[in-house]
Each structure stands twice: as C-alpha cells, then as structure tokens.
C-alpha cells in the first residue's frame, strides 16, 4: 500500500496563484477617497448647521427654559419670549398651503402624465419647472397686490356661510353692507395661497416622476381589460404611486414650513394663538426671524437663532421623512413584465 508522495504530484501547487484582481490603481484610490470625502461633506454640512444653530440656542434655552416653547408673546423689551403662537402660525400657513397645493398638484401631475394631449405635454412640464424657479419674493408681490383683493371676497364668503366653523370665523360682522375689509387682509389664508404657489411645483414634480414610472405593462393590461383612462389611473397609477404622492406632499409641506419672503411680504405680524385663518395677522417662524434680525440685540439674536434651530429640526424631520418615503416608492415596487 503505497501512497504517492507529494513530490510526485504536479509542481503547480507550490506556485503562488496569479492575483486576478490587482486592486485599484493609485490614481483611482485617490479619486475614490476624494469623492467619498466630498459626498460625506454634505452629511457634515447638515450636521454642522444643526450643531452651530443648536450651540447658539443654549443661552436662550437655559434662560427661558420650557417657557420658550409654551409662551405666546414675542416681546423682548419686557423679556417675554415664546414661540408657541409662531409655531401655530407656521403650521397654519403650511396647512393652508398644502390643502390648496395637494389637489392641484396631484391633478396637474395626472393631467400631464395621462390626460394631456401629447403636443402640449412638454410645454406643461416646462411650465411646472418654471413655476418652481420663480423667486418667492415675486410670488409675495403677486399675492399681496393681485391675489389679495380677489381672495378677500372668498374669505368673506367663507366667513359668511361657514363662520360657525372655528377655522373660518372672523371677528367682525361678515354680513355688514360695508364690510370691514381690513379684517380680511394679510391673513394666514392669503399667505397660504401664495405659499402654495411654491409648494405646487415641488409636489407636482415628484408625483409626475413617480406616475411616469408606472409599469407600462400594467397600464396596458388595464387598457386591454377595457378600462377607461380614469380606470387606469384609479386602479394602476394611483396605487402604484402612493409613496410618491405622500412623499411629494411632505416635501411640499417642508417647503411651506420654511418659506420666508412671500410670508414676510404679505403677513402683518401678530402674536397670540389664533386659529381663525381668514382673519388679519399672524406670524411664522421664518418671517419672525427675517423680520426681526436686522435690529436685534445680542440676546434677541440668540432667541431668533433658537427659533431657527427649532425650524431646522422640524423641516429636517419632514423632509427626511419625505425623502425616505419617495426613495422606498421608487425602488423595487414595480412588477416586471
């Protein structure tokens, strides 16, 4: 019983096998490192915004404590500062803006993706992109000078017929023969309408891109089963794009929460929690900061930066949620045919 000794085997085993993957060249390693660094810098930047604003808000928070979040007055002269009413105002503006923007954005996106004649489709896409590019200050001027007189009629009509509902209540006699116009100007409602002009293109662009991703096979299958265009939209496009619709709306909400210039132009600052959106006066966090920044003392500056920090946390949470929802809706939800 003799077994062959190792010496009789092929000598190949002793040789070192050739490296098939020599790794990256030096230039590539530098390239990868550099681009990773740049990519991570956006993470660092976001973190830095939070850190710096947070650091600046320590003195204010330690001075006012929890009262900073529950107080409704902004009177630095008598050392009473609180952002409760401003936060409510911000939420109201965003709420009105999203209520207006959501139906218009989804209908416009559906119109572009499924209903518009093919000839005008590209012009409609250009229109929505241009709408996103128009500076917010211009929407502010438009809202104040052109929209406000028209929207006041609507405000009055709403308060006449739905005044029993607390949102639409206005503290004046809406049925008066000569109605008190000044009670209806510069309201949260009108600000919300102007802000919705910025929210619509954002939401619409996201929704449209998701509608376009609807699997063609499923569309055609629905068509082949005799569905009308609305039938296709209802049974295929909308269920498929649910994530994109929610994400786009949240993104629009984030934009509406942080909008500054248009709010600053239209609103007349008023503090105190007031849910009557049609009534004159209100305030949002961003308009508060921008409006008072110029002539603020050091302590007030810190208070404004704290308000900015709160706004940062809110918008980041909303936008981050939106980004996650949109990302999920874009990956792997499609059925391949």
């Amino acid at each position: 019983m003799s077994t062959s000794t190792p010496e009789t085997l092929e000598p190949r085993q002793s040789r070192v096998s050739r490296q098939l993957d020599p790794g990256f060249e030096r230039s590539d390693r530098i390239f990868h490192k550099a681009s990773t660094l740049i990519g991570l810098s956006t993470l660092v930047l976001t973190g830095a915004i939070g850190l710096f604003l947070g650091e600046q808000s320590i003195p204010t928070l330690s001075h006012y404590g929890l009262a900073f979040f529950t107080g409704t007055q902004w009177q630095p002269e008598i050392d009473k500062i609180g952002i409760a009413s401003v936060l409510v105002g911000t939420a109201e503006v965003a709420f009105v803006a999203v209520c207006v923007a959501f139906p218009l954005a989804i209908m416009f996106a559906l119109f572009i993706s499924d209903f518009a004649p093919r000839r005008i489709k590209s012009s409609l896409i250009s229109a929505i992109d241009l709408m996103a590019a128009v500076p917010s200050i211009i929407y502010g001027l438009w809202g104040f000078f052109l929209l406000q007189p028209k929207a006041m009629d609507l405000s009055r009509w709403l308060s006449q017929h739905f005044g029993w509902f607390f949102l639409f209540h206005v503290d004046t006699d809406p049925n008066a023969a000569v109605w008190q116009q000044s009670r209806y100007t510069s309201s949260v409602f009108i600000v919300g309408l102007a802000v919705s002009m910025m929210a619509i293109p954002l939401a619409c662009a996201v929704m449209r891109s998701v509608f376009d991703l609807t699997p063609l096979g499923e569309r055609e299958a629905a068509m082949a089963l005799g569905a009308t265009r609305w039938g296709v939209v209802r049974t295929v496009v909308l269920p498929f794009a649910k994530g994109g619709i929610i994400g786009g709306t949240m993104l629009a909400l984030g934009r509406a929460l942080g909008e500054t210039a248009a709010v600053l132009v239209i609103i007349s600052p008023a503090y105190g929690i007031n849910f009557h959106v049609l009534e004159a006066g209100g305030q949002t966090v961003s308009a508060l900061i921008a409006g008072n920044f110029g002539n603020a003392t050091k302590a007030q500056l810190s208070a404004l930066l704290t308000a900015g920090f709160v706004l940062f946390l809110i918008t980041l949470a909303v936008n981050y949620g939106a980004a996650i929802v949109i990302r999920r809706s874009r990956s792997g939800a499609a059925t391949e045919i």
């Binding site: 993470l43 128009v134 934009r255 900015g308 936008n319």
Partner: protein, 368 residues
C-alpha cells in the same frame, strides 16, 4: 378624449361580424362631433343658467363665486347630457377629464398671471434707461422713476451668484459622482440627506453662514457671506439633478472605456462627465435659478446698500431680491413700482436661464 364603446355596441357588432371591422385605426384621442357638441352645449347652457340665477335669484356677488357656480352647474348639465347616450363609466371619465383640464388651467393661469402682472407693473420703471445704468445713491424712495436705478443690485446679484456657482459646482458634482459612480457604505444616507436638503429653507442657510462667518470668524456682513449661504442651498440641488444626469449615461460607455484599459478616474473624467455635460449644465442652471431669487439670505448675511459695490469682501452688497423687498417695505408708490421693475429684471434672468436649460437638455439624453 377617448371614444368608448358600450357593452351594447360589442353585442351589436358580434351580430354582424363580417362588415364591421374598421379599415383605418380609430383615433382614440380625438373628439367626435357628438363629443364636441355635448361639451360646448353644456358649457353654454350652464353659463346661461348661472348668469340668470346668480345675482337675481341667489343674490350672490363676486367673480370667483360666479366661476365656482358655473363649474358646478356645468358638471351637472354635462353629466346629464352624457348620461343620455353613454354608460356611467364614460360619464365619470369625461367629468374627470374636464376637472383635470380645469385644475391644469388654474395652475398655468396662476403662473401666467404672476409673470404677466410682474412685467406689467414694472413697466413704468424699466422703460427708463437710467433704471439699468444708475444706482440709488442719494435717490430717495419717493423720487420720480427717471432718477436712480438698480445697477448696484444687478451687479451684486451677478457677482454673488458667480461666487456661489464657483463654490457649489465642484461640491455638487463631486457628490453626484460619489453617489452614481463610486458609491459605498454611506451612499444611501448621503442620497437621502441630499434629497432632504434640497428643501432646506433658505433662511436656515442664511442663519448658518451668519453664525459661522459673522459670529465666529468675525467677518463683516458682505456679499461673500451671501454667496456662501447661497452655495449651501445650491449644493444639494446640483448634486441631486447631476446624479440623475449621470445615471442616464449608458453603461456601455463605461464598460467600453474600462475594457480599453482606462482607470476608473479616467473613465469618469473623460467619458462619463463629458457625456452628461448637458445634464450637468442643466443642474447648475436650475440651482442658479433657485439661488438667484433668495431673499432671506441677503437679508440676514448682508445689509441693503444703495451704492454700487464690486467688491464682495468689503461693505454690504445689494442684490435684486433684497432690493425688491426693501423698496416694497417703504410702501411708497414709486418705490413699489421700482420693486416691480427689479422683479421684472429678476424674472427675466430666471426665464433666460430657464430657456437655456431647455435648450441644453433638448439634445441627446434629456436628463429628466
């Protein structure tokens, strides 16, 4: 609009299957005379009805309410007319279609009214040549429009945007390259954060730069601070749009380049980036269009000034949005007209950038 057959039609057709086959394809997006008449008829009928009863019977007033009532009446009339000859499905389809047309015209109408109104209101300001060649040094807000101008604001905007582009393009495109070409453990989180940052309120970018440069470093309020704050908001926009542009570059090009022995860096630099050139330019211009209109940023990081300043590191620098805002807050009629004139110039800049974008993205591989 789609012309639809009712189930009854199909039965009728199957009775005589030989002769009914259409020789020419049916145009499914074309309105038949029947569709036209019912649509126009319903429009006219509801118009007449509302005109009759709106002010006299219902005692309502206001243009907006009139349009709402017209629409409501139109829906009822149109549905009734359609129901006479069509199935329920067809009626719903038509009503959805007209509603979507209405929504689209509201959105487009709002956009058009913004553009037209701005140019119309600013007309009395920008017809004067001095509006473009003078600054506001020594000109009071109440001065007639033939004095003073916005040269300082235009120059300021151009300089600030130029610096912001120089600062943000390498970072933005670098991030896009990282996301699309290199990737790695962090790419998913970077992508999500970039997406979230595109909607970062501009005022926060302004506050951030204010804290870092003016509070910590001790810089005065200048045009440079504005540019850097602009860049903070522009980087995520460029990164996101560029990533989309890079992703549509065909993989075959990358593989061909690597198969020829090029390193990854040379592939990206010589093949991928040049192929996506139009898309990258589009991304940059989109970001510029966004940055150029930021109002809160200059409000916080630079003061308004009335004189021409070419130097971004000393003295405040005015810019168009800031000029518009400060003129508006005076509430003087001539200052407001100047504000609209400046708004027209700003809007014209945005539209020009926009048209360039369209032009660039039209040829080969539209990045959207």
């Amino acid at each position: 609009m789609t012309t639809l057959h009712e189930p009854g039609d199909a039965v009728a057709a199957s009775d005589a299957p030989v002769a009914r086959v259409a020789r020419t394809p049916r145009k499914i997006r074309r309105l038949t005379p029947d569709d036209w008449t019912s649509l126009v008829g319903a429009l006219l009928a509801s118009f007449a009805l509302v005109t009759l009863i709106y002010e006299h019977l219902l005692n309502l007033s206001g243009v907006l309410g009139y349009l709402v009532c017209w629409y409501a009446a139109f829906v009822v009339v149109y549905a009734t007319v359609l129901r006479m000859a069509n199935s329920r499905k067809v009626v719903i389809e038509r009503l959805v279609t007209v509603t979507l047309y209405l929504a689209a015209s509201i959105v487009v109408g709002a956009l058009l009214s913004t553009v037209v109104y701005t140019f119309a209101q600013g007309f009395h300001a920008y017809v004067h040549l001095n509006f473009f060649t003078h600054d506001m040094t020594g000109v009071s807000p109440t001065a007639p429009l033939s004095q003073g101008g916005i040269l300082h604001a235009i120059v300021g905007t151009v300089i600030e945007v130029a610096i912001a582009v120089i600062a943000s393009v390498p970072l933005g495109i670098g991030t896009a390259v990282y996301l699309s070409e290199v990737g790695g453990r962090w790419s998913q989180s970077v992508r999500t954060v970039v997406e979230a940052m595109t909607a970062l309120p501009e005022i926060l970018a302004g506050l951030f730069v204010y804290v870092v440069l003016i509070v910590y470093v001790g810089m005065p309020k200048t045009g440079l601070a504005v540019s850097l704050a602009m860049a903070v908001t522009m980087v995520p926009i460029i990164a996101r749009a560029s990533e989309v542009a890079l992703r549509v570059v065909p993989n075959g090009l990358r593989e061909a380049s690597e198969a020829l022995g090029a390193t990854h860096w040379r592939t990206v630099y010589k093949v991928v980036l040049p192929s996506a050139r139009a898309g990258l330019a589009t991304a940059t211009i989109l970001a510029v269009a966004r940055g150029i209109g930021e109002t809160a940023v200059p409000l916080i990081t630079s003061g308004a000034s009335s004189f021409l300043n070419f130097n971004p590191v000393t003295n405040p620098m005015n810019s168009l949005p800031l000029y518009i805002y400060t003129s508006y807050t005076t509430h003087e009629p001539s200052a407001v007209t100047r504000a609209f004139g400046a708004a027209s110039v700003l809007l014209a800049m945005v539209v020009v950038l926009f048209v360039v974008t369209r032009f660039l993205s039209r040829d080969k591989g539209a990045p959207r």
